[in-house]
């Protein structure tokens, strides 16, 4: 599903230099990315999603060499096949939860806002336990509810790959467990591959594999 080879990336004017010789994830696999802060976990996720492009090397996702594609193609690929779940929820405060779940369909011409898509959002919210909050605004929700809403938005397009950047970082243990369960259950339901950044060792056993990004950078292969 994911194959990163001889990957090299650095931010302009920054000493940070990410080098990964090889990183591969199989289709349907669930992988937890760990590592100290600033080691490049989020950068790796952004390279895999096509938000960033490597200085050199290849990023191949779902048999498409994403790193060689132009901006528009990368963006279209991300919309159609990748779901993103950020750490800070990134819900739009002027939209209701229901509207937030449908934002990908509103901002992109690649997706069509169909009755089926709306029904799927309703079902996701039901399973996430936020169905009663659908017509509320994000400011009226608890932290856990907001993160579940952000997760539902990431899953709304039925992506083949789900990239989650520390989605449990702001949550209490109960909500952490609930969010990870929801993430893994829903990914399993649609057969999506999961790559999730986490710092919580308690959650690691629930993933098929745990990859330390710092070890990858030191020449490790995964």
């Amino acid at each position: 599903m994911i194959l990163c080879e001889d990957l090299r990336f650095s931010y302009p004017g920054d000493a940070f230099d990410l080098r990964i010789e090889r990183f591969a994830v199989a289709a349907g696999e669930t992988v937890a990315l760990v590592g100290a802060s600033g080691c490049g976990k989020t950068t790796l996720i952004n390279l895999i999603s096509g938000i960033l492009t490597p200085k050199s090397g290849k990023v191949t996702v779902d048999s498409v060499e994403l790193s060689a594609e132009p901006f528009a193609a990368r963006q279209r690929f991300r919309i159609e096949r990748i779901g993103l779940v950020p750490q800070s929820f990134e819900l739009l405060d002027y939209l209701t939860v229901r509207e937030n779940l449908l934002v990908p369909f509103r901002v992109s011409s690649a997706l069509r806002l169909s009755p089926g898509a709306m029904a799927r959002c309703g079902e996701l919210a039901e399973r996430a336990g936020i169905a009663a909050q659908l017509d509320k605004f994000p400011g009226q929700l608890s932290q856990g509810e907001r993160q579940r809403a952000a997760l539902c938005r990431g899953l709304a397009t039925s992506p083949r790959l789900l990239l989650a950047d520390e989605p449990t970082g702001n949550l209490d243990p109960d909500n952490q467990d609930r969010v990870v369960s929801l993430l893994l259950d829903e990914a399993g339901r649609i057969g999506a591959t999961v790559l999730m950044i986490t710092h919580d060792p308690v959650l690691l056993p629930r993933f098929d594999r745990v990859v330390d990004v710092l070890a990858l950078r030191k020449g490790g292969r995964a």
Partner: protein
């Protein structure tokens, strides 16, 4: 670009931040509305004042402010303007140089000016009786269309002049007048006036009065006979405050009519030569003035327009500042939304979509301000006649 999505998200953002949106729309609307409204109202006032002034060739009055004379003679305001003796108007008429229509616009009834004049005034202004008849007898009045409508007055009703000096026993007493006609509307100050015969106006002034017949009164109503043999009556004699068929004969005037006051007189010269002679005669006459209302309006509006230009320049500067502040609000707001835009990009929005989103929000505020400003202008347009009346009097 998902255009429908852009409109939806833009609208939701504006609706959710309705206080900010409303303030921006209101501020921008004022930027358009204030100068346009000012120009509209000034234009309406100018049209109203000029049309009346252009229809009045000359105005004779006591020396003083020519503008106050014009406002009294044409718009029935400035009731305290200095009066001139009625005899002066007769002198102009007798000169044969023009027709003279005396006016006495000092008193009021129910907030409407009572205008004492002659029947010539109705012909001169082209006033038509819509209901009832014209003035025939002392104590009658004809009411302008607006005054009649506002007070629900019809022929057969009565109106009472407003007492001017409530605590002055020797002052002007109110006179009850019979309404005999209502004028057709003209869209001029005549609509708000009450017209009476000049003599009726002088009775309100207290220069003429009616009372019980002195001959039939007992000794208890009389004061000691004066050295010249005239009968003098005391305060027990009933003085009439209404002119009826029964008591009309008892009304009489004391002193010389020629000395009685008028506030202004419309002078309609017979020809250009007559006009030139009249202007020459009264140009240097002490105590009196003969003014051209159109000329006075030209002078007035020269001043008004120069002030208006200054105000418009100030409004332009304020408008620019408001627009700059509005633009700053947009810029700062968009800066605060940087994370939101970044995430929308991650979710699939291309740069064009985000630019369209911001442009839509700005365009909506500008368009809404134009609509609000336009609506305000329409309301002002409808209310302008009322404002003009309020300003002119």
């Amino acid at each position: 670009m998902n255009f429908g999505g852009v409109l939806y998200l833009g609208w939701r953002y504006l609706a959710r931040n309705r206080v900010k949106t409303g303030l921006l729309v209101a501020a921008f609307a004022l930027v358009w509305l204030l100068p346009a409204g000012l120009a509209l109202v000034v234009g309406k006032v100018e049209a109203q004042l000029r049309s009346r002034a252009q229809g009045t060739p000359l105005l004779l009055g006591q020396a003083g402010s020519p503008l106050e004379l014009v406002f009294n003679g044409l718009y029935f305001t400035k009731p305290q303007v200095a009066t001139l003796p009625y005899g002066e108007t007769e002198a102009v008429a007798e000169s044969g140089l023009g027709t003279v229509i005396p006016l006495y616009a000092r008193y009021s009834a129910g907030g409407h000016r009572i205008v004492g004049t002659t029947l010539d005034y109705f012909d001169f202004r082209g006033l038509e009786i819509r209901e009832g008849r014209g003035l025939v007898e002392l104590g009658e009045c004809v009411v302008g269309a607006t005054a009649a409508e506002r007070n629900g007055i019809a022929p057969g009703d009565a109106v009472i002049s407003t007492p001017e000096t409530l605590f002055d026993l020797a002052g002007v007493y109110p006179l009850k007048m019979r309404v005999v006609g209502v004028l057709a509307p003209t869209g001029t100050p005549d609509d708000a006036a009450l017209f009476v015969d000049l003599k009726t106006a002088w009775i309100i002034e207290g220069l003429g009065h009616g009372h019980e017949d002195a001959e039939s009164l007992g000794e208890e109503s009389k004061l000691p006979e004066s050295p010249d043999g005239a009968v003098r009556l005391n305060a027990s004699v009933v003085q009439y405050n209404e002119i009826t068929e029964e008591n009309a004969g008892s009304f009489h005037f004391h002193g010389e009519i020629a000395d009685y006051p008028v506030t202004a007189a419309i002078v309609v010269p017979g020809d250009a030569k007559g006009q030139a002679l009249l202007k020459g005669r009264y140009g240097k006459a002490g105590g009196l003035q003969l003014v051209s209302p159109a000329g006075e309006m030209d002078e007035l509006f020269d001043t008004v327009f120069s002030v208006q230009r200054l105000v418009l320049r100030l409004l332009f500067a304020i408008g620019l500042a408001t627009l700059a502040i509005g633009a700053l609000v947009f810029l700062l707001s968009n800066r605060l939304r940087r994370d939101e835009f970044r995430h929308l990009r991650h979710l699939g929005a291309d740069p064009g979509t985000l630019r369209a989103l911001v442009a839509f929000e700005a365009a909506f505020v500008v368009a809404a301000s134009l609509v609000v400003g336009g609506a305000g202008l329409a309301v002002l347009h409808l209310a302008a006649p009322m404002l003009v009346r309020g300003w002119v009097g």
